[in-house]
Symmetry: C2
Subunit: 336 residues, 2 copies
């Protein structure tokens, strides 16, 4: 089996690749499990060393829009495309045209290139919680369900929601087999901050644990819908493995969310690493980030994902401890 | 005031132009009413003679995608764009790439060209009931509301729904002022059949009244959500005149629907023009048309439109009689 992961050298793409390599085989859409022969990563930046040195991993560097338009990707024989590549929310809000190119034109071109293969690959589209937003004059329901009407309040969310529509129509037409899965905010992300408006939801844990100041630019009570990196990747793989019947309609599916708040996250950090950690939190408000984040709902239900056996992380303290286990080298404060 | 109507030489565009010319002024978005100085019609085909001969009407012939990309339209000083131009549902289902070009690329290019004016024109986007569909494995609610999640089951519906998202985000960003309004199936359309899958919902009345065979390719019980040409144009104009507060959120609004069935439509025809008319109906099923039409809901609510004072047509018999009054020359059968 041949797998393509776009954004494959990013944190999530690399983790997905490692998890797939470790499990060694995949049951695509409920078909009998097949050995994974090759994982092609595509990205602007090179892969991490462990993946670069893996004989089953190939790497195609470049601009994904150009690669797709020129039919360099996906290669013939690709069985499944995990389309994770995207410009992040903050970038897209600051530069509308960049977002349209990176998220809208690129997704369309990749769908066209996948269609052109003629072999109906499975196309897993990483959509986002950010499709939901609370626009002026519109009352979002108390609990966000899979079938709640998205009313995105960011260009990023709009572009992701349009991507869902394209994937559904390409699948309905039989050009691909397509599934859109809405990722919750992934926390705790290791490594460096990115341009996502939600980036502080990882930084407020990661930076204090490293002995650095961490920004908390929104009020404590701000509700958030999170998933750990492991839970997120498990969800994406389960979506690829579900049978057509398990998957159900072509509409997008919400991945499970741990519903918590920024204040509760800070409390969990304090339980794990004490006041030395939370003393490093900087609660200076950032209106631009607040404006985006406050439109995202915290109260997200995931009935379809639950029916696939997917559950949210148990609690945020466990998520913090998981981060520490996996990133011991990045943790400088003593942990209880 | 300067007005642009795309698809302006089609039946609906021409009717909108005539109605606007007759009322002579427009209160854009609740602003003080201003005199209409110029209506620019753009289309592939020339305008009807009455409009071509009107000193307040200008005409730009061509391919709208090219005109928009080359910034020929909208012209500087345009106050409002009524974007009605579209490839119809049957065409888009038969030729996916044509639909993407005509409905998706063109709408995006027109939005970009409108944004480029820098004057935030009002952009009224004619969306469609066809955004709603009943996909396998998905239970559509009994009654379709403004905030029901569209799950289009045609490429036409998908493209219209994507257009709604673009309009909302361009408006949210302040590039335009934007409003998307979902038209119901317009019946009775005069003139010649078009490629719309819903075309028979006009043809089954228009053709028998002209003494010709009329196709009814779906079962009598098929539910439909209709609006007469007059009601549809009144709705579009009311949407342009609503204040921001009356309009509400940037999500699309359902125009009012007369809920009836194909069988009840035939009964109304018989009450108006007798068995001589219904004897001309040909009930031979057409699976391709049935497949599209049966996914469209008949039971559509329009709370937001009602709050704007818009109401559906009273009953279908009145609609048939209105058609006869307006198109006496096309009616050959005796009418009661």
């Amino acid at each position: 089996m041949n797998i393509l992961i776009t954004g494959g050298c990013g944190f999530l793409g690399a983790r997905l690749a490692r998890t797939l390599l470790k499990q060694g085989a995949l049951s695509l859409g409920g078909e009998p499990s097949r050995q994974i022969d090759r994982i092609t990563l595509t990205d602007r930046v090179p892969p991490p060393a462990d993946l670069a040195g893996n004989a089953r991993v190939a790497f195609v560097q470049g601009d994904l829009l150009e690669l797709a338009v020129n039919r360099k990707l996906p290669a013939a024989g690709t069985d499944v495309v995990f389309h994770l590549a995207a410009a992040v929310s903050g970038e897209c809000e600051a530069d509308f045209d960049l977002g349209m190119r990176s998220n809208f034109d690129t997704t369309r071109a990749l769908l066209e290139a996948t269609r052109a293969l003629g072999s109906q690959p499975l196309f897993i589209f990483a959509s986002s919680l950010a499709v939901f937003g609370n626009p002026p004059g519109f009352e979002l329901p108390e609990l966000i369900q899979d079938e709640t009407l998205p009313t995105p309040q960011s260009s990023y969310g709009t572009q992701k929601f349009i991507g869902e529509q394209l994937v559904a129509d390409y699948a309905r037409k039989g050009f691909i087999r397509g599934r859109s899965v809405r990722l919750m905010t992934v926390s705790v992300r290791p490594g460096k901050p990115n341009g996502a408006a939600s980036g502080f939801l990882s930084g407020m844990i990661r930076e204090p644990l490293a002995g650095l100041k961490g920004a908390c630019p929104v009020p404590r009570k701000t509700p958030v819908a999170l998933a750990s990196p492991a839970t997120t990747v498990d969800g994406i793989i389960r979506v690829a493995e579900a049978t057509e019947q398990e998957w159900g309609p072509l509409t997008a599916m919400n991945l499970p969310a741990l519903r918590t708040s920024v204040g509760e996250m800070a409390d969990a950090l304090e339980r794990v690493a004490g006041k030395a950690a939370t003393a490093l939190l900087d609660w200076t408000p950032d209106p631009a980030i607040q404006k985006l984040v406050k439109t995202w709902p915290g109260n997200v239900a995931s009935a379809r994902a639950n029916a696939l056996g997917l559950q949210p992380d148990r609690d945020f303290e466990s998520v913090v401890r998981e981060y520490i286990r996996e990133n011991a080298g990045a943790v400088k404060l003593p942990v209880r």
